[in-house]
Amino acid sequence: MEKDQLSGTDSIRIIEQMIGRAKEEEIDNGIGWVIWGWMLFLASIINYVMIVMDAPNKYIIWNIFGIAALVFVVYSMFVKQFFTTPKKPRVKTYTNELVNRMGIAFFISLLVMVLGNYLSGANQTGVNFGYLLLLYGFWMYIHGSAFRFNLLKAGAYVNWAGALIIFLWYQELGKNILLVHAACVALGYIIPGHIAQRRFGMANRPIDNSTEL
C-alpha cells in the first residue's frame, strides 16, 4: 500500500496536467479535409475546363464525384473516422463523438440538397453552389471551434463570403462560379487540412515521460 504525501498544490498540478493531456487527444488529423477538399476542387476545375472546351457530357464529373463522395462518406462513417481519428492508443472523447455526429448530419444535409437540386432541376443557374458553400462554412466553423483550430474557422468565413459573392453575382459569374467554388474549397478545406495533418503528426510524437507517477 503506497503512502502518498500529496500536498494541495501537488493535487492541483496532477489534475491540471492530466486534463491537459486528455485535451491533447482532441486534435484533428486533417486527412478528411484533404481528401474531401481535393475531390471537390478537382471536380470543380474539371467541370470548368470541360465547359470552356465545350466538351460533351460537361457535367459527368459530378456524377463520378457523387459516387466517390458516397463511398468516402460511408467508409468514413463505418470503417475509418477520417475527420477525428484519435491518436493511438485509443480513447473516446465527447468532442470527437459530437463532431462525428455533426459530420453525419452535414453529409445527409448535403445529400438532400444535391439530390433535391438535381431532381427538381433547380440547379440550372449554378446558384446552388452558394448554398453548398454556406453548408461547408457551417461545418467548418463548428468543427474548427470544437478542435480550437482557428484556420478552419477562417475557412468558414471565406466560404460564407464565397456564398455571398455567388448569390449577388451568379448571373455575371456564369461558369466562373465553379472557380469561386474551387477557390473557397482550396482556402477552406485543402490548406487547413494540410496544416492540420502536419500539426497532428507533430502532436503524435511520444510524450515527455519525465514525471513518473
Binding site: L6, I14, Q17, M18, V91, K92, T93
Partner: protein, 98 residues
C-alpha cells in the same frame, strides 16, 4: 490544522487522482492510453484501477479488438461525484491555507 482530513483517501493518491482526472475528461479510455499519459507501470496501474473499480468510481470492460485484448476504462457517476467533491474540498483547503 489537520491536513486533508476531508479528502477522499481513494482519490488522494498520485496515480489514482491522475487516472480519475484523465477519465473525467474523456468518455472512455484504453488501459494503454492511461499508462502512457500517467507514465506509470502496467502492474501499478492495474492495482490502482482495481481499487478505483472496487470503490465504484470506474468501470472496466475487457474485450477483444483485432484479436488483441483491450481493456477499456470509464468513469462512473459515483466517480464524477467523488472527483467533484475532492476538488471542492481541495479548493476549500487551499483557501484556508492562504
Amino acid at each position: 490544522m489537520s491536513e486533508f482530513k476531508d479528502l477522499d483517501p481513494i482519490l488522494h493518491s498520485q496515480l489514482r487522482l491522475a487516472v480519475i482526472s484523465l477519465l473525467v475528461s474523456v468518455k472512455e479510455a484504453e488501459f494503454t492510453f492511461l499508462r502512457e499519459k500517467t507514465s506509470s507501470t502496467a502492474g501499478n496501474l492495474s492495482v490502482q484501477l482495481q481499487k478505483l473499480k472496487e470503490a465504484g468510481y470506474i468501470e472496466i470492460t475487457k474485450q477483444f479488438k483485432d484479436n488483441y485484448p483491450q481493456t477499456m476504462c470509464r468513469i462512473t457517476k459515483n466517480g464524477i461525484r467523488a472527483f467533484e467533491e475532492y476538488v471542492k474540498n481541495l479548493s476549500e483547503y487551499l483557501n484556508l491555507g492562504k
